[in-house]
C-alpha cells in the first residue's frame, strides 16, 4: 500500500511490537506526530516535560521489560536533548531506538533553523545511527535499527529522518521481524579448559554483571552457583540478577562493595566473571585487582576481554547459553570450608549505619522498611549518588529488571524519567524512584508527566540538603573544603510537588518512616516523599579510586 514516510514509521513500529513511545513534538516531526494521532489506538505516546525525560523513560521502559525502548524528538535542540539519555543507554547496553526529525533534505547542511548534525553528535554514543536520505529506504532502516539495538551486546540506535521524507509517499509492505542472529558458543576446547579450571578450584568466587540480566541468565546463574558451590557478588548493573535473599549472595564488589566481597576476592582461588566489563568502579586499581587468582570471563562482547584487565581464560558468548552449557557438564560439588569462611565474614561484617541521633532517619532503615513493605518486589529506580548506593546496598533485589539505575554514565536526573517508563511497562508493579535532592532538581519537571498521565510512581527524595557523594569525597580527599556541595536551596519540596499536581508527604524522623511509606504505597497515584536525612552520612565501605579492592575503608 502507498503510505507517507510518517505512516511507514508507525507501521514499522507496529511490526516490532511497539505499543508505547515517549517523545516531544516539534516542527520537523509534525508529520510523525500527525501519524501518531492517526495511530493513537495502536501506539500510546507519552509526552514528557523535556526530551531528556523521554529518552530516560524509553530507557527505563526497556530495562524493566526487556523490550526495546522508543523515543521521538524533533530536530536541533529536541535531538540534542536526547543525547544524555542515549549515552546513558549506551553505557549500560540498553536496547533503544531514538527517532529524530531533521530539517527537509533541501535545507540539510545550510545551518537551517533547528538543524543539527545529530548523527555526527551521537556517533560515539550509539551502536549505529542512520540519516535516511530516501523514503524508499525508510522501512528497512527502521527494521535494521531494531535489529542492531538487540543483536549481541544491546544498545541504542538513532534514526534521523528529514521532514520532507515523512510526507513523501512510498509503497509499503509489512514484513515480520527476522529472528535475531545468535552469538556462537565458545569452542569446545575453551569450554573444556573452563570446566577444568572450575573443577580444580576449591574457593571459587562468582561475580555477575549486567550481561546476566540482558541475556536472561539469572536461572542459569543460580544453577551454576549451586553446582560449583560459590559465593555470588553482583555489580550495580546486576542487582536482582541473583536473588539477594539467598545465602550465597555477599553484596557488591568494588568501590562500594561489602567487606565480605573484598575478603572473598582476596582469598578465592578462581574468579568467574559473567557478563561484566570490569568497570573502573569495580577494579578500583586494575594492577591490584585479583592478582593471585586466575580469572575466567564470560562475555558476549569480544572487545571486553583484556580491555580493562587481563584474564586467564575467556569464553565468548551469550551468558545464558554459556552457563547452561557449563551446567550440563558440572556435577554439583561442595566447598564447605570456603562457604563457611564466607558465612563467617558475612556475620562479622554486616552493612551497618550509625544514626546521628535516636530520632534521625538512616537510609538503611528507610530502604529496609521500603523493602519489607513492598515484599522485596517493587521496581526501584534511582538517580545517581549516595542514595543510589544505599538503595543497592539495603533493598533486597530478588529478580532481574527490578533495579533501574544509570551505572556506567552515572546520569543524575535519570531516575524519574526511567521510573515513569518502568511504570508504564509494568502497570501492575509498584515503582519507586529513589532520588537525592541534588538529582531531583535536575529533572523534577517530569513530575508533571507523572501527574498528567496518572503514572503512580513514588518519588522518594532522600534529602540531605547537600550533594552527598561529592561532599563525601571532599571530606575524604579535600580536607572538608565543601566547594559547591552545600546546596542551601529554598525549595519547598512538598509545595513543588503539589504545584505539579502530585501529592506530597514528609518523613522527618525515624517514627515517620513506616506510616508515611505505607500511606504512599496505599495511594494509587504519583506521590513525592520528602525524607530528611543527616548531611554527614557516608556510603561505606569505600575503596578510594586507585585503591586496592581488597582493602575498603570501613569507617570514617
Amino acid at each position: 500500500m502507498l503510505l507517507t514516510g510518517a505512516q511507514i514509521v508507525m507501521e514499522c513500529l507496529l511490526e516490532q511490537g511497539v505499543d508505547t513511545v515517549f517523545g516531544y513534538p516539534g516542527g520537523a516531526v509534525l508529520n510523525i506526530y500527525d501519524a501518531l494521532y492517526e495511530y493513537r489506538d495502536k501506539i500510546r505516546h507519552i509526552r514528557t516535560a523535556h526530551e531528556q525525560g523521554a529518552a530516560h523513560a524509553a530507557d527505563g521502559y526497556a530495562r524493566s521489560s526487556g523490550k526495546t525502548g522508543v523515543c521521538i524528538a524533533t530536530s536541533g535542540p529536541g535531538a540534542t536533548n536526547l543525547v544524555t539519555g542515549i549515552a546513558t543507554a549506551y553505557m549500560d547496553s540498553v536496547p533503544m531506538v531514538a527517532i529524530t526529525g531533521n530539517v527537509s533534505s533541501d535545507l540539510l547542511g545550510l545551518d537551517s533553523f533547528q538543524e543539527v548534525d545529530i548523527t555526527g553528535i551521537t556517533m560515539p554514543v550509539t551502536k549505529h545511527n542512520f540519516l535516511v536520505k530516501d523514503v524508499e529506504n525508510l522501512a528497512d532502516t527502521i527494521r535494521r535499527a531494531f535489529r542492531i539495538a538487540n543483536t549481541g551486546r544491546k544498545g541504542p540506535v538513532l534514526v534521523d529522518i528529514p521532514k520532507d521524507l515523512t510526507a513523501k509517499r512510498c509503497e509499503y509492505t509489512r514484513s515480520e521481524p527476522l529472528a535475531l542472529p545468535k552469538t556462537a558458543l565458545p569452542k569446545p576446547e575453551r569450554l573444556e579448559q573452563a570446566l577444568e579450571m572450575i573443577r580444580k578450584s576449591e574457593r571459587p568466587f562468582l561475580y555477575a554483571g549486567g550481561g546476566v540480566v540482558a541475556s536472561g541468565a539469572n536461572d542459569a546463574l543460580k544453577d551454576f552457583a549451586e553446582r560449583i558451590d560459590a559465593p555470588v557478588s553482583c555489580s550495580l548493573m546486576c542487582q536482582g540478577g541473583y536473588d539477594q535473599t539467598d545465602a550465597r549472595y555477599i553484596g557488591m564488589l568494588g568501590m562500594h562493595g561489602t567487606n565480605t566481597s573484598a575478603l572473598a576476592i582476596k582469598n578465592c582461588d578462581l574468579l568467574i566473571a559473567v557478563g561484566t566489563r570490569f568497570s573502573d568502579r569495580v577494579l578500583c586499581n586494575a594492577g591490584l585487582f585479583a592478582q593471585h587468582c586466575p580469572i575466567l570471563q564470560i562475555d558476549i562482547d569480544a572487545a571486553e576481554f583484556n580491555k580493562n584487565i587481563d584474564v586467564d581464560l575467556r569464553l565468548h558468548g551469550d551468558a545464558k547459553e554459556v552457563l547452561t552449557c557449563l551446567n550440563e557438564q558440572l556435577t554439583p560439588v561442595r566447598h564447605s570450608e570456603w562457604m563457611g569462611m564466607i558465612q563467617g565474614w558475612k556475620a562479622l561484617y554486616p552493612l551497618e549505619q550509625k544514626a546521628p541521633s535516636d530520632e534521625a532517619v538512616t537510609p538503611k532503615e528507610l530502604m529496609e522498611t521500603l523493602d519489607r513493605l513492598t515484599g522485596s518486589e517493587a521496581i526501584i529506580a534511582t538517580e545517581v549518588g549516595q542514595h543510589q548506593m544505599w538503595a543497592a546496598q539495603f533493598y533486597r533485589f530478588r529478580h532481574p529488571r527490578q533495579f533501574i539505575s544509570s551505572g556506567g554514565l552515572g546520569t543524575m536526573g535519570f531516575g524519574l524519567g526511567a521510573a515513569l517508563g518502568a511504570q508504564v511497562a509494568n502497570p501492575d508493579k509498584r515503582v519507586v524512584n529513589i532520588a537525592g535532592d541534588g538529582s531531583f532538581h535536575m529533572n523534577c519537571n517530569e513530575l508533571s508527566t507523572a501527574a498528567q498521565y496518572r503514572i503512580p510512581v513514588i518519588e522518594l527524595v532522600v534529602n540531605n540538603t547537600v550533594l552527598g557523594m561529592v561532599r563525601q569525597w571532599q571530606k575524604l580527599f579535600y580536607e572538608s573544603r565543601f566547594s559547591q556541595t552545600d546546596l542551601d536551596r529554598a525549595t519547598d519540596y512538598e509545595m513543588l510537588a503539589r504545584a505539579f499536581g502530585v501529592k506530597a508527604l514528609t518523613i522527618r524522623t525515624k517514627s515517620d518512616i513506616e506510616p508515611v511509606l505505607k500511606q504512599a504505597l496505599a495511594l494509587n497515584e504519583p506521590v513525592l516523599i520528602n525524607c530528611y536525612i543527616d548531611p554527614d552520612l557516608n556510603v561505606l565501605p569505600m575503596v578510594p579510586a586507585g585503591g586496592c579492592v581488597e582493602k575498603p575503608i570501613l569507617e570514617m
Binding site: T119, G120, M123, H128, D301, A303, N306
Partner: protein, 163 residues
C-alpha cells in the same frame, strides 16, 4: 619500527561498507579510544559499495587487538585484518616540491634518477617530484633533498597488500 616505549607500527586493513560517514566512524573510534593513527588511506574498492581503509597504528599487541575488536563492532565494518609486514607489499606515494636554481638543477635531477623518481613539473624556481616506495626509501629520498630547500611534501600514508 619500535620506539623506546616498546610501541610498534601496525598496519590494519579495514574493509567497510561505503556508507556516508564511514570514515568518520572509523577515525572517531580511534580518537575517542585514544589510539594513535600514524597514517590513514581510504578509497573505494573494485566493488563500489565498499571502501578499503589502510591504517597505520602505533601501539603494542594488546592495543592492536583492542583496535581490531572495537573496529569489528562497527556496523559498517565488514572485515579487519592486521597485516604482517613480512608477507605484504608495503608502499607509500610521495609528491615533493623542491626549490630549483640554475646551480642545483642538475643535482636535483641526478638524485631523482637514482631513485627512479618521476619529474612531474618544472618551473623556473621549483620542480615537483614523484616517488613510490617503502617508507624507508621515501625518507632517504627526502633526506637527500633537504639541503636544497624542500618547499612542500605530500605523502599518502602506507598502502599495503598481502602477497
Amino acid at each position: 619500527m619500535s620506539n623506546q616505549t616498546g610501541e610498534k607500527e601496525y598496519i590494519l586493513s579495514v574493509l567497510a561498507r561505503n556508507n556516508p560517514g564511514v570514515l568518520l566512524r572509523i577515525s572517531g573510534l580511534f580518537s575517542r579510544r585514544c589510539y594513535n593513527i600514524l597514517s590513514i588511506v581510504a578509497a573505494q574498492t573494485e566493488n563500489a559499495e565498499y571502501s578499503r581503509i589502510l591504517i597505520v597504528v602505533l601501539g603494542d599487541d594488546r592495543i592492536v587487538r583492542q583496535v581490531d575488536k572495537q573496529l569489528s563492532k562497527l556496523e559498517d565494518v565488514e572485515d579487519v585484518s592486521v597485516l604482517d609486514r613480512d608477507r605484504a607489499v608495503v608502499r607509500e606515494h610521495l609528491l615533493m616540491k623542491v626549490e630549483r636554481t640554475l646551480q642545483n638543477s642538475e643535482k636535483l635531477v641526478e638524485i631523482a634518477n637514482v631513485f627512479h623518481a618521476n619529474i612531474l613539473n618544472v618551473e623556473p624556481d621549483s620542480m615537483i617530484l614523484e616517488l613510490t616506495g617503502d617508507a624507508a626509501s621515501i625518507n632517504s629520498f627526502i633526506e637527500l633533498y633537504n639541503p636544497y630547500h624542500v618547499v612542500k611534501i605530500l605523502r599518502t600514508g602506507t598502502m599495503a597488500m598481502m602477497k
